[in-house]
């Protein structure tokens, strides 16, 4: 059986959105408005795609024409020029390899799955998340949904109990106090019975076919973990969420896709939608649950940390057809705090990556080591390129640097424009602007504040502790199926 998405190619599915967008869903209004014919939309979309492709080719041409400028500056400014050339190769290389990415089609693989949702103070979103998991398009006798309340101080547990009363398939667990996300996840893992464990963040939503898609790569015994494709759920909220939507798209569809193509070396199976083989994760559980760094409990970066441990001996792949949506920060402050948190866990986990990645696919190792080296160089390059030239009063190199950065940002954004006809593409430029001006400096800021393990977006800081089983409330319907009893 072939997944229709794969059969029709990536081209068709996003444009479906445009058709829906232009044809009014409001029944009352539909009588007065007529939607444009489908063939017209299809034609316009093809014309637009061709124009975007030609535009991207023109930018490649521009980079080709100006390459002499960069090579010429090698002798004058070797570090800066070498960095520029390396970054261009790195970015274009990722795009080139990502072009070879293909998701695993539906091979009919239907293992037993436990969907695990750790939640802390998510009374508003948790119902939606649980519902999206309960309504996945997957044989119901093969799925259990485990929601874990990590000592929330709001109505999260009440919401979970209500959901439990509505559905016998929900397995609701209250830890009795706050242990932190890792503790909650670990307890969920221990109580899960599925062959595959699928983690969904409490502010994320699975598309109905996401579960079927995410288990398919596990047909390859070398695969230990699979990460789905995440989009920003509240992308229409404001420019901050639109910018993250474009960023998420390339982070998944280009970066994770490249890593996936290169012998399954995705370095972070993001928490919003990731699945693990139970046999692989169980032995790693104690070390991961109580991970410390610089004498402090490693409270965040749980996803990157577990991926890292799995990746040492298994493959981690990306499955673009397994789509989830996640709620992204809507204010700049929260966004920057989230980025800093990710940066810190990236820093911590990069230390492990350095040690074993050379054993992986050589190209993957090259990309990964480059991706570790670049952020350390980037702040100096930005200061040198902008600050140094303004101080010296020589602007010629500055314009070249700015137009070069602009070209790269535009390529990333045009990729989104090509894939998604929602008009948000130019917010990718905003992301690059914020990246170049603020985020590049977070690498060092993260090092200096490494021991500050506050979550930032979550008002909770806890030390590692073993789960006190006396305090745990486990709501599990007698009607609920024990997945271990399902014949293989």
């Amino acid at each position: 059986m072939i997944d229709p998405r794969t059969a029709s190619g990536d081209l068709a599915s996003p444009w479906k959105g445009l058709t829906e967008l232009l044809s009014p869903t409001d029944i009352a209004a539909s009588s007065s408005r007529r939607s444009p014919p489908r063939w017209l939309i299809a034609l316009l979309s093809i014309v637009l795609k061709v124009l975007i492709a030609l535009y991207a080719i023109a930018i490649f041409g521009f980079i080709w024409v100006t390459k002499d400028l960069t090579f010429a500056s090698l002798t004058r400014d070797p570090l800066f020029a070498a960095y520029s050339i390396a970054v261009v190769f790195y970015v274009l290389g990722r795009f080139a390899i990502a072009a070879f990415y293909r998701p695993v089609p539906d091979l009919g693989h239907r293992p037993t799955v436990s969907i695990i949702i750790p939640a802390f103070n998510e009374e508003e979103g948790i119902i939606g998340t649980i519902q999206s998991c309960l309504h996945v398009d997957y044989p119901s006798e093969l799925v259990e949904v485990i929601a874990i309340n990590d000592g929330s101080t709001d109505g999260t547990w009440q919401a979970m109990t209500r959901a439990y009363e509505d559905s016998s398939r929900l397995h609701a667990i209250d830890l009795g106090r706050n242990y932190g996300k890792r503790g909650a996840m670990a307890e969920g893992i221990r109580r899960a019975t599925g062959e595959i464990l699928c983690f969904v963040d409490s502010d994320s939503y699975l598309k109905p076919d996401a579960l079927t898609a995410i288990v398919q790569p596990f047909t390859d015994p070398r695969v230990g973990a699979v990460v789905g494709h995440a989009e920003v759920h509240n992308r229409m909220a404001n420019w901050i969420t639109k910018m993250q939507q474009v960023r998420y798209y390339s982070a998944f569809r280009v970066i994770k896709a490249t890593e996936s193509v290169l012998s399954g070396t995705v370095t972070c199976a993001s928490g919003c939608c990731a699945a693990y083989r139970r046999d692989v994760i169980m032995p790693l559980l104690p070390g991961w649950e109580f991970q410390t760094f610089l004498g402090r409990p490693a409270t965040f970066g749980d996803d990157r940390s577990i991926t890292n441990r799995i990746l040492a001996n298994h493959r981690v792949v990306y499955q673009s057809t397994s789509e989830a949506e996640t709620v992204a920060p809507t204010t700049l402050t929260v966004f920057l705090r989230q980025q800093l948190r990710w940066k810190k866990s990236w820093l911590r986990e990069s230390l492990y990556v350095l040690r074993y990645f050379w054993r992986k696919n050589p190209l993957a190792a090259l990309f990964t080591y480059a991706s570790i080296a670049f952020p350390f160089m980037a702040p100096f390059v930005v200061l040198h390129a902008v600050g140094g030239r303004i101080v010296a009063g020589s602007f010629s190199g500055l314009w070249f640097y700015l137009i070069g950065t602009y070209s790269m940002a535009l390529l990333y954004s045009l990729f989104y424009a090509f894939k998604r006809p929602d008009g948000m593409w130019y917010h990718g430029m905003t992301f690059v602007a914020i990246y170049m001006s603020v985020l590049v400096f977070q690498t060092y800021w993260g090092i200096f504040t490494m021991r500050d393990t506050r979550w930032g977006t979550r008002a909770s800081t806890v030390e590692h502790a073993h789960i006190d089983q006396e305090m745990v409330t486990d709501l599990r319907s007698t009607a609920a199926l024990d997945l271990l009893a399902v014949p293989a």
């Binding site: 409001d26 024409v65 010429a72 070249f400 008009g423």
Partner: protein
């Protein structure tokens, strides 16, 4: 569907449509920074010129039979002499020094007129050989020379020289060629041009093509002035080292030793100097390495260059934004001096 959620849905729908339209409008607008770069920055203009030349190489204008006849009639006639022409840049104005740049169309017109008038283009090496008693110059000889080794000059002049079947001389600042950027041509480019046989690569100092602050606060050409506290002997060594470096660099990259030298800013020590002894020292040092040296002083009295003149003080005509016939008239005037 309740009324409220239908409203919310239609608001969202409108916002999506608005986003789509902004996205479509932003697509062509995103080209603007490239336009600004290509037209508003010196290097951007050179990039544009490079693309223009690659797509549509400049060609010589086709002269009418009347124009050809007029050029023939206006052509001066002379033997054993050469008119020395000095150019700097060609292009649309991407000039770091200000001025010293003529349009490709003007340059093409001048070449076409010279060709129609039956003038013979010679190189600095040919001039040096002839003046040293070797192979004599052809009649009605002109030496087309460029100073500085600029990218734009090579870019535009080369295809037009090829079409006219003419050769030119490039006086290269070797320090700039080793450290090129986009304004100055790099050694690989210079070697490529030299290997076409159309370009004679000669010396224009290694690193002394700049002005320097001297003791009394003036800015003077580095080649013709003493630095504060510098003795004449130190000056001599500074010049000697620089000229030797320039010659060695040309020999190393292009393969031929330069025989000609052009004074930066046309300054050879007669003026724009802060010591009367400099002119003599500079002349000795230049003479040690080169057979001929060129400058461009009082432009109203430039004669044709002949072997009986001072070989180390040959005078070039600085070419302006003139028509071909104006250029011919200038040469005629020089031939009659």
């Amino acid at each position: 569907m309740t009324r409220g959620s239908a409203d919310a849905e239609s608001i969202l729908q409108r916002r999506r449509l608005r986003q789509l339209i902004i996205g479509l409008v932003a697509l062509p607008l995103s080209v603007l920074p490239f336009v600004a770069y290509a037209t508003g920055t010196p290097e951007g203009r050179l990039v544009t010129e490079r693309v223009t030349v690659a797509l549509r190489p400049p060609t010589l204008p086709v002269l009418s039979s009347g124009q050809i006849a007029a050029a023939r009639a206006a052509a001066p006639s002379y033997k054993n002499a050469v008119m020395l022409l000095a150019y700097h840049g060609i292009g649309s104005g991407s000039d770091a020094e200000g001025g010293f740049v003529i349009s490709p169309a003007r340059f093409g017109e001048q070449l076409a007129t010279l060709k129609a008038a039956g003038m013979h283009a010679v190189t600095a090496t040919q001039v040096a050989t002839a003046f040293d008693g070797g192979k004599p110059l052809p009649p009605k000889a002109v030496m087309i020379s460029f100073d500085d080794g600029r990218t734009d000059a090579l870019l535009y002049a080369d295809p037009m020289l090829a079409e006219a079947g003419m050769r030119a001389t490039m006086f290269v600042i070797t320090g700039a060629a080793s450290n090129p950027g986009i304004y100055y041509a790099s050694w690989p480019d210079l070697v490529k041009y030299a290997s076409s046989g159309r370009w004679d690569i000669e010396s224009h100092t290694a690193t002394l093509h700049h002005e320097q602050k001297v003791a009394d606060g003036r800015s003077l050409p580095a080649l013709t002035s003493l630095l504060p506290g510098e003795t004449l002997q130190e000056y001599r060594m500074r010049v000697r080292t620089d000229l030797a470096d320039a010659s060695a660099a040309i020999k190393a990259h292009v393969g031929t030793s330069p025989v000609a030298f052009a004074y930066p800013f046309g300054a050879y020590g007669a003026e724009r100097t802060n010591d009367p002894a400099i002119r003599g020292i500079l002349r000795q040092e230049v003479g040690n390495l080169y057979s001929v040296a060129f400058h461009q002083d009082d432009q109203t009295t430039i004669p044709l260059a002949r072997a009986n003149q001072d070989h180390l003080g040959l005078r070039r005509l600085e070419i302006g934004n003139w028509s071909g016939m104006d250029l011919l008239a200038q040469i005629r005037a020089s031939a009659h001096r």
